[in-house]
Every structure is written in structure tokens, then in C-alpha cells.
Symmetry: none
Subunit: 430 residues, 2 copies
């Protein structure tokens, strides 16, 4: 591969938006872009965030064009005065911006569908660099565009992820694939729950260490995210069959070492995994939630098609609702408290009876920051499950972190309890 | 302020590390750096991530030095072959690297404390640019360093946050404070719902346009996030009282133009605003959710202390639960369908009766991707609310976007309906 070829296969990303330079927001589009590019063998070599300033955008764009074969700009394609990406790239390339009447019409139609007229400012979104190819936006008003500029590919994509992603996919399938060679990055991943990052590392490090120097080498990354540890394996190869086989062998070796704690080997989230199991077995589920306040059901129903197995549930935030709606005996609440194993079982039994679901789960706990005690500190969560035959399982957990972490961990553990019941007929080990 | 002075108060951050260019990790140090700098009146104008490549680091560093008064590099100060920040900055500045025996001694001591001898590679961490000031590292082996290079301040800081942060604090208290002068950045924001970004822009552009050239100028950014449009105002001034007054006047002018659609003027999210109103008035709330499947209650209970006003609710995903738990008349479901105004009102009345809450809200709709029809396409959502006196309000919406967007928009519109009822005794206008 010549140096010129190598440069063709490098990319830089420039995210535009002053809000991305503050202390609260990060550019997350670049993660998706990096992954997509690397899957077709293009390497992201640098990325930048620039504010809504035409000269600054132009300077960073010029700099990137001297280094990389592909320059992708995201954001700054809106209709307002501080959307300056189009102007900046026009300045850098010396190409004029031309209004496309068909884009104006499409934007007008989009507004009309919602019974609104197009504000005049949106006309700006129909400006396209002369010679650029328009990328249609099915999910918003700002079209994207790309052009070949003296052998470099420049793409302007909108900032909102759901608008940007389909356009990037189109680029990767089309003009970018043509630039890439035969080498592709192949990937696989394993998601694990119920173990800490260092316990996962301890179990798998001796297995993956030799892979780094193998032929072809396999790169392994361990990533801790709320409620799960992710193992990402990747491999660069021009032979897709060999790559797939090598990665499968590697993933199997890791899965064997981690046993039942591996819940996903294809990138699906826990709620998708549990949903697919319920659907396969023709089972329905309901939930009674206290401290998680609807988050478990929200995760379950986030999955398209979940109405096939989610019946519904009750958020019993107050003790009154626990007693009145879910028929938890008042003396149980008095004697053991709302965060207790007997009450958790009654909640699950209650929501099963009320909704008619075959499987019922309940979560009751102390998410914090207040409400903890010496016996039941913040993070104490009791989770129960009742199976189709009416058998109950219950466990008390102590989750780390603040309110958001405790709530998420609790829903993850509840889903894991259902998964283990469906696959192994057991409660989760810890 | 002269242009030269202005440039002194701008900064760029360069994060170094190939692992920050993949699809799983982000540079989060820059958030902390942005906040610290802005608190002393230095504006972060761009940031970049560069891999472990000496020439690439040097190029980005040179570029930043042509634009900003302060250039902060984080990471790449470790002891290994791919830690190249020191070498890159030496190349850019033309300054030689000098080994400091006292740093070598300190690193040796650090290892000795753990009963180990210092590996020879760590000697590299004692290399300091000639003339630079060393920043001691209490939490690791890599010291930081900073220097004044022709009036620009260059700082090299380690990547791990707990090592970087104390050094940055020292810089902000010392050499950076001296550059910053008395000017500070002051900020305020307004959040708007129920209008599109361009409709907000249309309403406020004539108001804020003259501020850009006013003395002191006010910078205005409009940001569309799911369910809300955010207006961010900022102002650089040495007079905190004047700054506060100017921003308050500006925010009031925008708020007047946007009227009741402004729901937050202090950065609080919709669920916090509604929660605070409910708490103030001593009211309780419950929800019946169909297509949002618990997301509304999850948002309400995400707020610490929400148990004071959230009673609970029912997720009535199936029609059976709508009928059995919430007593929605079967003939209503048959005649109008689950996504209809009569059913929405019955759901709200049902959950009010079942939970005993004073205010009840219901959401029923088609989140997609399936389930839409010509009369009721995906995105059709009906929201009802019953007030403490039993009066019902109901409205049918058509939300744009995919499943996740429709679900979020629906919860936002439901919360907005409650807010408008509590503040203005009205249903939301659109």
C-alpha cells in the first residue's frame, strides 16, 4: 500500500456546535462514525469540536484536509444564524452555495404535514455546494451533502444522531466503500452482568493476553457501563471467513470462562434479550415497581413489538397503592417495612393477579439520596419474581452509586432474574 | 479590550490517546477543563482528540497555538513508547527536554513505597521542557508542566482525571488567573416546549440580533433537544452585578416573546419543574401509561424526593389491563379504539380512582414502528388529565420521529399539560 493509498483511508471528524464546548455535553456522534468507518477499513485519526464560528470551522476544516483523505463535519446545518457549516466549507473549497428548489419543496412538505407553514429561515437548508451530492434526510429538514474535493471526500451531515446515522450508512455503502481497500475491521462483543470490571478482567486476561501477538492479532477492550461489563473484540483482515471464525473461537473461549454471567453475544441490550426469550416461549410479563418508579417497564416497552409480551404493571410508589391496588397485607408492610422480602413477594403476586400476566416481577428499595437507615442503607433493593406456576423467588441486593445508578442496577438485576429463570431456572448468583 | 487581550483569554484542549478515537470511549476531561476555565473567564474555543502519533500531536498543537492564548494537552505523559506528548511539544517549541533528578527521585520513592524498584522506562517521565514549571502529581508518577511560549501558555497534564484535576486547579489559581484578568463568563438559559426550533428562532431572532454588537455583547445559542428548545445566553464581564442585570433583562425580553411556552429559566428539567409545582401546592399525581410504558412515571420519580407527590400509577399496555385495572368501559374501547380521547379520559379517571391521587394524567398512543393506520398514523398520541375537582382535559397530538422520540415527546407533552394547568389553568396551545 502506498502512502497516498494510506492517506485515502484516514478520516477526521469535526463536530460543530458551541454547546459541545461547555461543561455538560459531549459529541457522541463521533463514536458511531468511528465504528462505521472502521468497519469498512477507514481509520479515524483525529476529531475536533468547534464552536459556531465560521472562521474557526473553516480553519479546522482546512487543517483536516491537509492530513486526512476523508473529512466529516457534523452539525451546524440548521436553519438559524448560528448554523454556519455550509458557509465555512464554501469558504474553504471556494465553491458557491446554490439553492435547490426540490429541497425547499421537501422541507415545505414536511412542515405542511404537521399543519405548519415553512418559516422563511429554513430556505437556508436548501443551499448546496456546487457539485456536491445531496444526502436526503428522512428524519429532519436538514439534508446532508458530500463532494470529492481534489481527491479528498468532504461530507456535511446534520448533528442529531437519527438524522446523521442513515446518511453516514449511505456514505459507507457508497463513495466511502469505494475508497476503502479489502481490509475490514471485524468485531464481536460479549456483555456480562453481576460481576465487577476487575473480576471480569481477572477471569479473562490470561485468555486474551496471547491474542495481541497472534496472527492476525485480536484487540480486546473491557468497558464498564452501568449494570454491565462489555468485552469488545476486534480484528483487521481482508478474509471475512477467517476473521469470523477467529472471532467466534475467541468469543467462545471468553464465554466459557464467564459462564452464565454472559447475557448477550450480539450487542443486544438486556431488555431485548429478555423480550426475545418471552416471545419465543409465548409468555407474558408484568411488573410492580416501587423505587424504580416505572423504569423497568419503560425499558421493557422500549423494545419495538414488546406489546406481544408486556401486559402492563403498577408503579406503587406510596404504601397506599401497594395495599389498595396490589393487595399487599397491611400487617406485612407494618411488620417488615415496604423494603422487605415478604412485601416484594406480595407485590409480585399482587401484580400477577391484577394483570393476569404469567410472569411477574417486583422491585422495592431505597434509591436515595434520602430514606436510608442503618439496617437498610441507600442502595438496598429487594427483587422478587413469580413464575407461571406461582412459585416465588426473592433476593435482597445492595447496589453502589447514586439514585440513577441504583435505579438502573435494580432494573438490570430484575431482568437478569427473569433471564436466568427462563434459561436455567435459577436465581442470579452473585 | 484589545484583540490581543481577547486572544489571551481563549483556550484549546488537545486530548491525546488512540483509545479515545475508537467507538467506546470519550474524552471527558474536557468537560471539567471547560468548566474550570470558564469560571475564571477563559473561553474554550475548540477541542481535539489525537492518537498516539508524535507528528499528529505536534501538528494539532501548532495549529492551536496560532489560534488560542492557552493550549492544554492531556494524556500521553506515561512511561511507555506510545507516550509522546513531551516529544511533540519539544518539536513544536524547539525547546530541549531536560531530565530533572528530583523528579526521578520522587518516582523512585513512589515505587519504593510499594516495595518495587522504578522500571527504567519511567525515567522518561522526568523529562521537562527547558524553562517549564513542573506541576507535582500527588496521585501518580507523571508530573505535569507548563510554560509561557511567546505569550501563549502551554500546559501538559496527565490523562487520568484524578491526576489532571488538581494540576488544572493549580493552574487556574496561578498562571491562568493572572492571564484572565477580572472578566468572567456569566450564563443563563431558557427552555421552551411546544414550538419547533425555527419557530423559536423566528420569534426571538429580532430580539437577540442587536445584542451581538451591544456593549457588553450577549452571545445567544439555540439548541434543539428531544422535547424542548434551549436558549443559552452568555456574557463576558468584569462586573458581576451588571452582568447579572444585563442577562436577566435579556432573558426577560426573550421570555416575554415566547410567553407560556418557556417552562424553565434555571436549567431544571421539565420533571423537576412540575415536581416543584406539585410540592409547593401540596398536590399528588398518578399516571396511566400505555404507549410510554412507564417512561412518564420513571421521569417523575427520577427526581430525588418525588415520593412526596408521586403516588404511583398503572402501565396499561394491554386492553385487558385498561379494562380490568382501570375500569375503562369495554364498549368505549370497542367503539373508539384504545388510542382515542374518550379512552384517554377514562384511563386518567381510572388511575385517579384507583390510586387516590389528586391529579391524574394518561397517555395512549402509537409509538411505532408498527400499529399505525391511515386515521391514526405512528406518532398519534392522546393525552388526558383530570384535575383535583374531577374536570378532564384531553388533546390529540401527532409527534414526529421514531419510537424513542414519540415516547419522549409524549411524556414531555403530558408534563407540560400538568404545568400549564397548575400555572395558568389551561391546556397546552400548539
Amino acid at each position: 500500500m502506498t502512502e497516498r493509498d494510506a492517506a485515502r483511508r484516514t478520516a477526521e471528524v469535526i463536530a460543530i456546535g458551541s454547546e459541545l464546548l461547555g461543561s455538560t455535553r459531549l459529541d457522541t456522534n463521533s463514536l458511531f462514525i468511528s465504528e462505521q468507518l472502521s468497519s469498512i477499513g477507514i481509520v479515524l485519526q483525529a476529531k475536533s469540536v468547534v464552536g459556531d464560528d465560521r472562521d474557526a470551522i473553516a480553519e479546522h476544516c482546512s487543517g483536516a484536509l491537509t492530513r486526512a483523505g476523508v473529512v466529516i463535519l457534523t452539525g451546524g446545518l440548521g436553519p438559524t444564524d448560528d448554523d454556519l457549516t455550509r458557509d465555512a466549507v464554501a469558504q474553504v473549497t471556494g465553491l458557491p452555495l446554490v439553492e435547490h428548489p426540490d429541497i425547499v419543496r421537501r422541507i415545505e412538505e414536511r412542515f405542511a404535514k404537521r399543519g405548519m407553514r415553512m418559516p422563511e429561515v429554513n430556505r437556508r437548508q436548501a443551499l448546496v455546494l456546487r457539485g456536491a451530492t445531496v444526502l436526503e434526510n428522512a428524519n429532519g429538514t436538514a439534508p446532508g451533502q458530500w463532494l470529492d474535493h481534489h481527491g479528498r471526500l468532504i461530507a456535511l451531515l446534520p448533528g442529531p444522531p437519527r438524522e446523521m446515522r442513515p446518511m453516514l450508512a449511505a456514505l459507507c455503502a457508497g463513495p466511502l466503500a469505494a475508497r476503502a481497500g479489502l481490509e475490514r475491521i471485524h468485531r464481536t462483543s460479549l456483555f456480562v452482568t453481576g460481576r465487577s470490571e476487575s473480576h471480569v478482567e481477572e477471569a479473562v486476561q490470561p485468555i486474551y493476553a496471547p491474542w495481541r501477538t497472534a496472527q492476525p492479532p485480536i484487540e480486546t477492550t473491557i468497558l464498564a457501563t452501568p449494570g454491565q461489563i462489555e468485552l469488545h473484540l476486534s480484528l483487521s483482515s481482508a478474509d471475512p471467513v477467517l476473521a469470523r471464525q477467529t472471532l467466534e473461537r475467541a468469543a467462545s473461549a471468553l464465554a466459557e470462562a464467564l459462564g452464565r454471567d454472559v447475557f448477550s453475544t450480539d450487542g443486544r441490550a438486556m431488555e431485548e434479550i429478555v423480550g426475545a426469550l418471552l416471545r419465543e416461549r409465548g409468555l407474558t410479563i408484568a411488573a410492580a415497581e416501587s423505587c424504580t418508579g416505572g423504569l423497568l417497564m419503560s425499558r421493557l416497552t422500549d423494545v419495538p413489538g414488546s406489546s406481544a409480551y408486556v401486559v402492563g404493571g403498577v408503579v406503587s410508589y406510596s404504601n397506599d397503592v401497594k395495599a389498595s391496588t396490589l393487595h399487599v397485607p397491611a400487617d406485612q408492610l407494618r411488620e417488615y417495612g415496604a423494603v422487605s422480602e415478604p412485601v416484594a413477594v406480595s407485590l409480585a403476586e399482587g401484580v400477577k393477579a391484577v394483570t393476569g400476566a404469567q410472569i411477574a416481577v417486583s422491585i422495592t428499595g431505597i434509591a436515595g439520596p434520602d430514606g436510608g437507615s442503618e439496617q437498610k442503607p441507600v442502595g438496598t433493593v429487594v427483587i422478587a419474581m413469580v413464575d407461571p406456576s406461582g412459585r416465588a423467588k426473592v433476593r435482597t441486593f445492595r447496589f453502589p452509586g447514586g439514585r440513577t445508578q441504583v435505579r438502573f442496577h435494580a432494573t438490570q438485576a430484575a431482568l437478569e432474574m427473569v433471564r436466568r429463570h427462563l434459561l436455567f431456572d435459577e436465581s442470579p448468583a452473585r
